[in-house]
Every structure is written in C-alpha cells, then in structure tokens.
C-alpha cells in the first residue's frame, strides 16, 4: 500500500470558534476538516458559554508547511484570548494528493 506522510492538526477550543476556525483552515489551504463535540478543562478555566465546558475538537489533515502556518496563526491570533489547545501529529494517508493545496478536489 503506497502511503504518504501528512500532518494532522487537532484543535480543541470554545465552540463559539467552530465556524471561524474552519473557515480559516479552508482559507489557509486545508482540503477539509472533521469536527466533534467535546468537553474539558484546562489552565484557563474561564467559562465562556452559559453551559460551561462546551468545546469542539477540530481535526484537519494538511501538509507540514500549511500546518506550520496554521499553528503560527493560532498562536498569534487566538491563543492569547481564547480557551484553546492545539497539537500536531505525524500520520500516514493513502492517496495523499487529495490533501495538497491545489490537489485534485
């Protein structure tokens, strides 16, 4: 099986950011994303919605270069203000071209 290496970025954040962040991912070159509902606790402990602890967990496969830029952007624009964590993982995918910017869509 011919596989290809990509980065998976996982962002856990206040659910109010879902729409904005997925649009940002698209704009920065991600070919897609997957979101699920989550709850959690962290350093900040601020409660940002009437029903506390409502987070979303956003995952997106992308090239290393794009992942770098996304992390950079998150760190500058979002980390100072919002309850949020983000990490990246090395993963292998089949038919990785799909996830490249300008790749077949």
């Amino acid at each position: 099986m011919h596989t290809m290496h990509l980065r998976l970025i996982t962002i856990v954040c206040e659910s109010v950011l879902e729409e904005r962040l997925t649009q940002t991912l698209r704009r920065m070159g991600a070919s897609g994303w997957t979101v699920s509902d989550a709850r959690g606790d962290g350093a900040r402990g601020v409660r940002m919605s009437p029903t506390p602890g409502e987070n979303v967990r956003i995952e997106s496969l992308m090239e290393d270069r794009v992942a770098e830029q996304v992390l950079e952007h998150l760190a500058t624009e979002y980390f100072p203000h919002y309850a949020m964590v983000a990490w990246t993982t090395d993963v292998a995918v089949v038919r990785g071209d799909k996830y490249k910017e300008g790749g077949k869509r």
């Binding site: 950011l17 601020v46 409660r47 919605s49 029903t51 506390p52 409502e54």
Partner: protein, 320 residues
C-alpha cells in the same frame, strides 16, 4: 406587596429555579441533557411567537407605535447607561465594560416569559403585542455596546457579520417567524396546535427553569471574581432600568401588565444572543464577568424580586 411576593415565591417557576440552585449547591451532578435544554428553549420561543402572533392579529395596532418607540429608546439607552456606569464608576476596562453593557442592553426571553406569566396570574395581562416588542429589544443594545467597545479600541471584525448572526439567530427565527406564522394562520388553525403550544407551555417552562437554576448556581463560585461593584451593578442597574421603562410604558399608554413586562425586559440581561457576539468581537473581555452577572445575579433577582417590584412601580405610575 408582601402577598404578591409570597405568591411569586411559591410559583412553580421560582420553586424550580430554587431546586436547581439547591441541587447544584449540594454538588449534585444533575443537569438536563444539552439537547433537552435546547429543545425546551426552541419550544418556548416558538410557542411565544405563535401565541403572540395570534394575539397580534387581534391587537389594536394604532396603539402599537408608542410602545414600539419606547422599546427602541430603551434599546439605545440601557447599553449606554450600563457602559458609562461600568467604565467610569466601576473602572472596568473598555472591552469588559462594553461586553457587560451588551448583555444588559439586550433582553432575556425567559425573564420576559416569567413576567408575562406573572402579570397574567395577577389579573393584569399585558398587551397582545408584547412579544413583538421583545423582538425589537433584543438586537440594538448588543450592537450599540459592541460599537462603543470597538470604536474605543479600534479593532473588530466586520459589523455586518455580527448583525447577521444576531438577526438570524435562534431567538429571532423562532420569535419573529412564530409571530408571522401566528398572524397569518388565524384562530381556527391555532386551535389545532394550541394543546401543544399553550397547554404544555408552563410545564415546559418549569423544567427549563430548573436547569437555569443549575446553570446559575454553577457560577456562584465565580461571584468572588466578579467583585462587589459588579454585584451591586447587577441588582441596582436593572432596578433603575426597570423603573425608567415602567414610567416610559405608562407614558405611551401601556396597561399595568404591559408596563411591568416592558420593565422586566429592560431590566433583564441577555445570556443567549449576547455571549457569543461579545466573545467573538471583544475577545479580550472576560466572559466570567458578564455571564456571572447576567445569570447568577440579575436573572434570579428579576425572577424573585424584580418582577413584583416592577409590577408595584407600574401600579404606582398608572395610579391604580
């Protein structure tokens, strides 16, 4: 007045709220499933809109202009007074002052419903067009407060986006949409859906408010962080706004019930439309302040003491 207070304290609404608070303080894990909470709120808003629409189709519309004007005036006034008090007396930062003002400039639909229920049970029902006023009051205050905050700090994302979000949010779709459906369908069709939308209303409200008690009590721990100034603000400001609104209501010809409900609206603080709007537009504001004040102080204050108080004021200014 004391009698009224007692009747109010023993209403299912206030008792259910208290039960939610007590359960949470006893560190119970009890809470409504997220989707049930959302479903009840959808049901309540849509039922409110439908019934309001049916009543609106009977209402005396030439009496509507005055109250509508008064409502819009309150929508412009309350965020500004709130901002000024918070910024200059309370010494809050610009973003924090603006964010809290956005909450107090808008309106809490549940407080509105509780006030409607209260005046009906007092034998002084409000005008049929009150839900229409509610829709007028929700949005302006948020935008005025955010505009102040953004102008002062000079940042911000496109105002159109926020406007769009609030105008097409759940509350607006269900209330305005429900109103229109109600106006158009008329009495006979209303009869067919009435058992669902009217028969179940008060019971569903009771269950909903039980959860609000849990959610409010969840923030009691944050009361410390909020500080004495904001604590006082969250009680005194609503009372002042309520008194102004009751007087204004009398001026434009509203009944005692109508004045009371208008006062409760002006006095109430939004915790549905305002929080996401402020979170996205004023990210450096601390959401703990606004949510704790709106949910854990102002909401219970209005529910327990505010509404009867506005009723007394309304009776006084109407001279009955």
């Amino acid at each position: 007045m004391l009698d009224v207070l007692r009747t109010n304290l023993l209403s299912p609404i206030v008792l259910a709220f208290t039960l939610g608070v007590v359960a949470r303080l006893a560190r119970s894990e009890f809470q409504l499933p997220k989707d049930l909470y959302a479903s009840l709120s959808i049901y309540l808003l849509f039922a409110l809109g439908l019934k309001g629409g049916v009543e609106l189709s009977h209402a005396n519309l030439h009496q509507f202009a005055g109250p509508a004007g008064a409502t819009l005036l309150l929508g412009a006034l309350t965020p500004i007074t709130s901002y000024l008090v918070l910024r200059h007396l309370g010494r809050f930062t610009i973003p924090d002052s603006a964010a809290i003002a956005a909450h107090y400039g808008s309106v809490s639909a549940v407080t509105f419903i509780a006030a409607q229920t209260f005046v009906t049970s007092m034998g002084t029902p409000a005008e049929g067009f009150m839900p229409t006023l509610l829709t007028l009051l929700e949005s302006p205050g948020i935008h005025i407060a955010l505009a102040i905050g953004l102008l002062q700090t000079g940042g911000g994302r496109p105002v159109g986006e926020t406007l769009h979000e609030v105008l097409t949010g759940r509350t607006m779709v269900l209330l305005v949409g429900g109103l229109m459906v109600g106006v158009l369908m008329g009495e006979p069709h209303w009869k067919a859906v009435q058992p669902f939308f009217e028969g179940g209303f008060k019971g569903a409200l009771t269950l909903f408010i039980l959860e609000m008690g849990v959610v409010a009590a969840d923030r009691i721990g944050d009361l410390r962080k909020v500080g004495p100034f904001l604590f006082g603000f969250a009680i005194v400001m609503p009372a002042i706004h309520g008194a102004i609104a009751a007087a204004l209501g009398a001026l434009v010809g509203l009944s005692v019930g109508g004045c009371t409900v208008l006062a409760a609206m002006a006095a109430s603080a939004s915790y549905i439309a305002a929080p996401p709007a402020t979170r996205l537009n004023l990210p450096s504001a601390n959401p703990t302040y606004s949510l704790t004040a709106a949910l854990a102080i102002t909401f219970p204050f209005n529910l327990v003491a505010g509404i009867p108080l506005y009723h007394a004021i309304a009776r006084a200014v109407k001279g009955v």
